[in-house]
């Protein structure tokens, strides 16, 4: 290869071939909204770029009775504009609040997952929606849960400056020879007992998420009990985070504010809040506030009456 290159492959197969041969040298560029600022400030060297934003198979949204499949290079804007994504209100409300118009127009769903940047709002949302990430390489294709991408990741990433604890690149369990091809979101078996919500706090509009909390709940047939819950968190840890302790605590509890607050009090067991932009104490407090509100709103949307 020459010293520097910037390529636009026509197909996923071509990307895989390049990755197979040069995976140590090339960097995949999707929307570039996380990557390029890091290149510009010298944190990341980008000598050989493989830009996937023009590959038709990666920029499509498809919908079946069972699931919605979003290509990894689909932009936030296109998700918002597509009729095919309207069955996931939480996804749309989270995306609507991401960054600014430029970020939403260029940033992609797969780029967000691959960066692992835990302040990105989309990761906890996809976790709550039980999404599956389709990852391909020349060896084939594998499917993993969203949170599995980050759960055990230990990849050392060289970072510098005040961003190092969460803004930038975070460990992600994706090999350099692999590419995220698509995200599959299962259709919700909507028996009228499901509710979801995403909310966040930023220092200023369009700024980094200080704390973000997403919730999806399923209520009992009588709608007075939480059958199951997923609570996803943005910007509270080193990587995209879930709150299993809170989820477990919520399961089977009556839909009362008192029970929700009690469950949320255990949030500290699930996360180790970071200190970028605000103190960890504040981040935890805000995460608790937002979690209580998000769970309550999800319950309300599921038809539950909060006591």
């Amino acid at each position: 290869m020459s010293d520097q290159s910037y390529r636009f492959p026509d197909s996923i197969e071509e990307v895989k071939r390049i990755l197979d041969r040069h995976n140590d040298e090339v960097t995949i560029v999707s929307g570039g909204q996380t990557l390029l600022p890091l290149v510009r400030d010298g944190t990341v060297e980008l000598d050989h770029a493989v830009d996937i934003s023009r590959i038709p198979a990666l920029t499509r949204i498809e919908r079946t009775a069972e699931k919605t499949v979003i290509g990894s290079a689909v932009t936030y804007r296109d998700i918002l504009a597509s009729e095919k994504s309207d069955r996931h209100p939480m996804l749309l409300e989270a995306i609507d609040g991401i960054g600014d118009r430029q970020v939403r127009s260029l940033g992609t769903i797969g780029g967000a997952l691959a960066s692992g940047e835990p302040a990105l709002d989309i990761i906890p949302v996809l976790y709550c929606l039980d999404a599956t990430v389709v990852i391909g390489s020349s060896d084939g294709t594998r499917r993993v849960d969203v949170d599995a991408l980050y759960r055990n990741a230990t990849k050392e990433t060289e970072l510098r400056g005040p961003r190092e604890d969460y803004i930038g690149l975070a460990p992600v369990e994706i090999d350099a020879s692999e590419i995220i091809e698509a995200i599959e979101i299962p259709a919700i078996d909507d028996d009228g007992h499901h509710g979801e919500d995403y909310r966040k706090q930023t220092n200023v509009a369009g700024g980094w998420t200080i704390s973000g909390v997403g919730t999806s709940v399923s209520l009992s047939a009588t709608r007075d009990r939480i059958d199951s819950a997923r609570v996803g968190l943005a910007a509270v840890g080193q990587t995209g985070a879930s709150a299993p302790t809170v989820e477990t605590a919520l399961e089977g509890t009556p839909t009362t504010m008192q029970e929700i607050t009690k469950s949320v009090e255990q949030l500290g067991a699930d996360i180790e809040p970071t200190t970028t932009l605000v103190t960890s104490q504040y981040r935890l407090q805000v995460a608790k506030t937002l979690a209580s509100r998000s769970i309550a709103e999800a319950v309300t949307r599921a038809g539950g009456e909060l006591e």
Partner: protein
């Protein structure tokens, strides 16, 4: 949904109202909301700003900047950089022209600079420069830096060819080192007054280091023709900038010519005067290469070398009687100048000293202020130099004092206001025109009307606050030394060219000048072309477009020229038509007499040129009373400024729409100061020097409902009664919001910005600074 997505706030409304005190003659031009002359190019994106400009055969500069805050450069080797393909010159700091020594004084200070055929090559060549720096103990706290034994950043009052330096006598024995400027003043007997006061209230306040964050980053193109230096960049105070650059580079003032780009960039003080690591660097590289050199700051360098608002620490002690009369005020302020002076440490301190006395009756007063060099990034001019910080401290304090005495803060203020015609207690004579009482009354009336029926839910805290503010127009001296001249030329086609010292920085000065000419001469505003006169013109001007003087003083010169032009024109026309001058009426470019109606161009055979002049024999103070209502989220500490009323005395609104725009801009700046922005640093290294990490206010942070009340007090000395607006409208904004937050949460944030985190912990009754540990 309980939240609204950014930018979709449909309930927001802005209204402006104006009750004209004294209408000018009903000619077209002045007093009407004429469309801005630059509106089309700015809205369409065709305006060419400084960083859009490129010139033929121009080289591109890159600057190697210090990563350590304090040290001495031992060696700088630029050999390898010079050898890079495309590099035309590489200069070490000591090879730059002017007053560059071998000392590094802040992160971002200049070590070396490269000029190359393109920008990327110049930046790559920086990596080839090797240097060796001996690090010195740095000092970042201004209160420490001024003490004996502190590391020396500069000798006291160094001669770096900054303007406005004046002899100082430091009477405080504890102030020993790193002194940029110092002021002490007193009248009456403060100690005695405090001893006998019914209440003595003492508090400290700090204001943060903040950046202008102008959208257009700094960019200059320097070139030499023989011994003549030409710099193309946006600078508001061109006359003094030329002098400073000449002195700094050790060339004649006349050898420096500054011109502005086709569309000047915004300033807010950030582009008033040259910067140590900017224009001189480009000038040096251009001299070395013999070619024009373009230097543009990357965004992060804007935070390092683009100057900031002085961080300040205030201690206020006020004595009052039981019935709310101020008997004494003792104020001490320490301002952080950073690594280099900008000549305005003096103004920070003098504004801190004088402005309270333009507002309140303070019979016993003691003031001490010092501005101090540290190894932080440099401070400089920023909208409301010192007065923005001082007003925050004073108006926050007044709110506390009123609460202590048990008085309504508004009533307390009214009780102590200086009245029109009343002598200031520092002996500076009376306030001629003060619309402050009307500002208070109308502002309060409007505020009550729009907040009256508000109900709040149980999970939000609502608070209301008021603050006053004042600032003088122009340089503030009012001693007749500040002058401006303008030249008007009417061509035979009936159009007029106005050459003025104004710089259209977005404040709308070109439009105002065209309105004044139109008004005086009787031509349509569109027939007036406004230009900046060149440095070589035989026209005088002291300070350019700074200190809210454009409309007041430059506009005064244009008006003077306009009356002359009108008189000459009428004479010519009456001669041509053989009628009495009294019978000639010119309106919208058309000449009307009893006998005929013809256009100016049909009658004028030779062009007319006149020169007008205005001097600032006064420095009229403008007043504002601002009212804020905030909603605080108790679960997060988030502050939403829901309602704001800015009642501002502008003397006379030559263009009410643009006055409204200035007020809205001030509110945006003030909201940002109150709740958003702070340039944080760790050992002198800015932690948030990018627009991703540094919080700036956007329309989402603006009040949902904003009403601007334009008060017109008809200032005797200003054109048509106008006085300054840009600076005076900002200071009351932040303290009004701060006082509203105090009202909402029962605790005061004395160190803005009142971020959600600070408010959250203050609300919980914890002292944020002392008790909440910050993780390493």
């Amino acid at each position: 949904m309980t939240r609204e997505a950014p930018g979709t706030d449909s309930s927001r409304s802005i209204q402006a109202s104006r009750e004209t005190a004294e209408q000018p003659p009903s000619k077209r031009g002045v007093g009407t909301a004429t469309k801005r002359t630059d509106i089309a190019s700015k809205v369409r994106g065709t305006a060419i700003y400084g960083s859009d400009v490129s010139r033929p055969s121009t080289l591109h500069a890159a600057v190697l900047r210090a990563e350590t805050p304090h040290g001495t450069l031992r060696t700088v080797d630029t050999t390898a950089a010079t050898d890079c393909d495309g590099v035309v010159a590489a200069c070490s700091r000591s090879e730059l022209r002017g007053f560059f020594d071998d000392r590094i004084r802040h992160v971002g200070d200049v070590i070396a600079a490269v000029a190359a055929t393109d920008r990327e090559t110049a930046y790559r060549a920086l990596e080839e420069i090797e240097y060796d720096v001996i690090e010195h103990e740095p000092v970042f706290d201004a209160a420490t830096a001024v003490q004996a034994g502190a590391p020396i950043v500069h000798e006291n009052q160094p001669d770096l060819k900054q303007h406005r330096q004046h002899p100082i006598e430091v009477t405080n024995e504890e102030y020993v080192n790193n002194i940029d400027d110092y002021h002490a003043y007193q009248h009456g007997d403060v100690d005695e007054a405090l001893n006998t006061a019914d209440h003595v209230i003492e508090r400290s306040y700090t204001t943060p280091r903040v950046s202008h964050c102008n959208l257009d980053t700094h960019c200059c193109i320097a070139s030499w023709t023989d011994d003549q230096l030409h710099v193309e960049t946006t600078l508001g105070n061109i006359t003094q900038a030329q002098e400073e650059l000449g002195d700094f580079l050790e060339i004649d003032h006349d050898s420096v010519e500054i011109t502005v780009p086709p569309t000047p960039s915004s300033s807010f003080g950030g582009r008033s005067l040259p910067k140590f690591t900017f224009e001189p660097v480009a000038a040096s590289l251009s001299e070395r290469t013999g070619r024009p050199v373009r230097l543009e700051f990357p965004r992060d360098v804007e935070f390092l070398a683009g100057e900031t608002r002085h961080k300040t620490e205030w201690e206020l002690t006020m004595g009052v009687t039981d019935d709310g009369e101020i008997t004494a005020l003792q104020t001490s302020v320490i301002a952080d100048t950073g690594g280099y002076p900008n000549g305005v440490g003096h103004i920070v301190l003098s504004n801190g000293r004088d402005r309270p006395l333009d507002m309140y009756r303070i019979p016993n007063y003691e003031y001490e202020g010092v501005s101090v060099f540290t190894n932080n990034v440099p401070a400089g001019e920023y909208r409301g130099i010192g007065v923005t910080q001082g007003t925050f401290a004073l108006e926050s304090h007044i709110d506390e004092v009123a609460r202590t005495v048990g008085m309504d803060p508004l009533t307390f203020r009214s009780r102590n206001l200086l009245e029109e015609g009343e002598d200031r207690s520092n002996g500076r004579g009376p306030i001629d025109t003060s619309g402050v009482t009307e500002c208070l009354e109308r502002g309060q009336r409007t505020f009550e009307r729009i907040t009256d029926d508000r109900s709040s839910s149980s999970n939000e805290l609502v608070g209301r606050g008021v603050a006053l503010g004042t600032h003088t127009t122009g340089s503030g001296a009012g001693d007749g030394r500040d002058v401006s001249e303008a030249e008007l030329t009417m061509r035979t086609d009936g159009t007029v060219t106005a050459k003025t010292a104004g710089v259209e920085l977005g404040q709308g000065s070109d439009t105002v000048m065209s309105q004044i000419v139109a008004h005086e001469v009787g031509v349509p505003p569109e027939a007036v072309r406004v230009e900046r006169f060149p440095a070589s013109a035989a026209l005088d001007d002291s300070l350019g477009a700074v200190a809210s003087r454009s409309t007041y003083l430059i506009g005064g010169a244009v008006r003077d020229a306009g009356t002359q032009l009108s008189s000459t024109l009428v004479d010519r026309i009456s001669t041509a038509l053989d009628c009495s001058p009294a019978d000639v009426r010119i309106d919208d470019g058309t000449v009307h007499t009893d006998r005929s109606t013809v256009s100016i161009s049909d009658l004028l055979e030779e062009e007319i040129t006149v020169v007008g002049r205005a001097t600032a024999d006064d420095a009229p103070a403008s007043y504002g009373a601002h009212f804020a209502e905030v909603v605080v989220d108790p679960g997060t500490g988030h502050v939403d400024v829901r309602t704001f009323v800015a009642a501002q005395d502008v003397g006379f609104a030559i263009n009410p729409k643009m006055v409204e725009g200035q007020l809205e801009g001030a509110v945006l700046h003030g909201v940002e100061f109150a709740i958003c922005s702070e340039l944080r640093a760790d050992n002198g290294i800015p932690e948030n020097s990018s627009l991703a990490d540094y919080s700036v206010a956007s329309p989402v942070e603006m009040p949902n409902q904003l009403e601007c009340e334009i008060i017109e007090s008809a200032e005797r000395s200003g054109p048509y009664g106008a006085k300054g607006l840009g600076t005076p409208s900002l200071p009351p904004v932040a303290p009004a919001i701060g006082n509203a937050i105090r009202d909402a949460i029962g605790n005061r944030i004395t160190n803005p910005p009142a971020t959600a985190e600070r408010v959250f912990f203050a609300m919980a009754g914890r002292d944020f600074d002392e008790e909440v540990p910050v993780d390493e």
